[in-house]
Symmetry: C2
Subunit: 155 residues, 2 copies
Amino acid sequence: MNFPDTLRKTRSRLKVWEILSDAPTPLTARQIAQKAGTPDTKGVWLSSVYRALDAFEKEHAVSKTMLKDSPEALYAISAPGHHHYAICMNCKSRTELAGCPFGEESSLHTVDNDFMVVGHVVEVFGYCKACRTKMNIKTPASEEAGEHSHHRDKK
Amino acid sequence: MNFPDTLRKTRSRLKVWEILSDAPTPLTARQIAQKAGTPDTKGVWLSSVYRALDAFEKEHAVSKTMLKDSPEALYAISAPGHHHYAICMNCKSRTELAGCPFGEESSLHTVDNDFMVVGHVVEVFGYCKACRTKMNIKTPASEEAGEHSHHRDKK
DNA sequence: ATCGGTGCAAACTCTTTGCAGATTG
DNA sequence: CAATCTGCAAAGAGTTTGCACCGAT
């Protein structure tokens, strides 16, 4: 995906674009602003990052994602061929899912021949192997047999 | 789903629970507080609504959902047998999806025999029939043939 | 030169937290 | 009665907006 040619190529936007291009995973606006530098090192202000991201999003050049457990939106350059992730609830690592449950190429299709689908979000939450070992989290089987009184988290 | 018996049945919580039970669709905390009444009519304060919802969520009695396009979280009583929705990007109506792309009963399974899944989010975005007709939105086919320069929205 | 973008500050919205008094079990 | 919950106020986090200057086309 290239920098949308409908948009002016300003220093701020180019920087945001570059940071997003180099990032292996989606980033928050704040992370982008931090990577861009400080006020003295000619960085990019947070509000400008938001404005740049909004502009990119309107051109469908970047995608914005809201995760269930975080109030911060994540931004990534729209990939040709969409991806979904499994997100570890402990270490927050993201592992790309092998394929899309709706089918690889059909990001556009209809539900009930009635609703025109233009996109979808699929997120899988759980625990990665490393964290399960580290925290001795029980297996799905024992969890399923279950009760609901523990694993509450302090914030 | 019933009011979790691990929690004290206070006026506020019962009211929140009742409102959520009667609601045909997920609600925001603010909507719940509004339906609960005003400060003079013995309503429930917004912060108390949040605290009640947090408590319910920890008991897995209600589920919290963050939609991609809204900063407000939606809450609903956890249904036995989970549901997913198709959300109209125009009128914001929600239509329940017929089933889960991951399979009806397997809300717990593993990805790559490595990642322990405890939940997932599936959201489908698009346009409902009514809005498509009303707005004369083109079909997937013509959309797919596409360019990216229009349907930008003013905020 | 013009129109749009940016720095910056300040406003806004959603959510969380602290505390003292009220309630529940 | 003790522990928990609630009303309320005020603080926090994330995001948006207003405005004057600046820079891309």
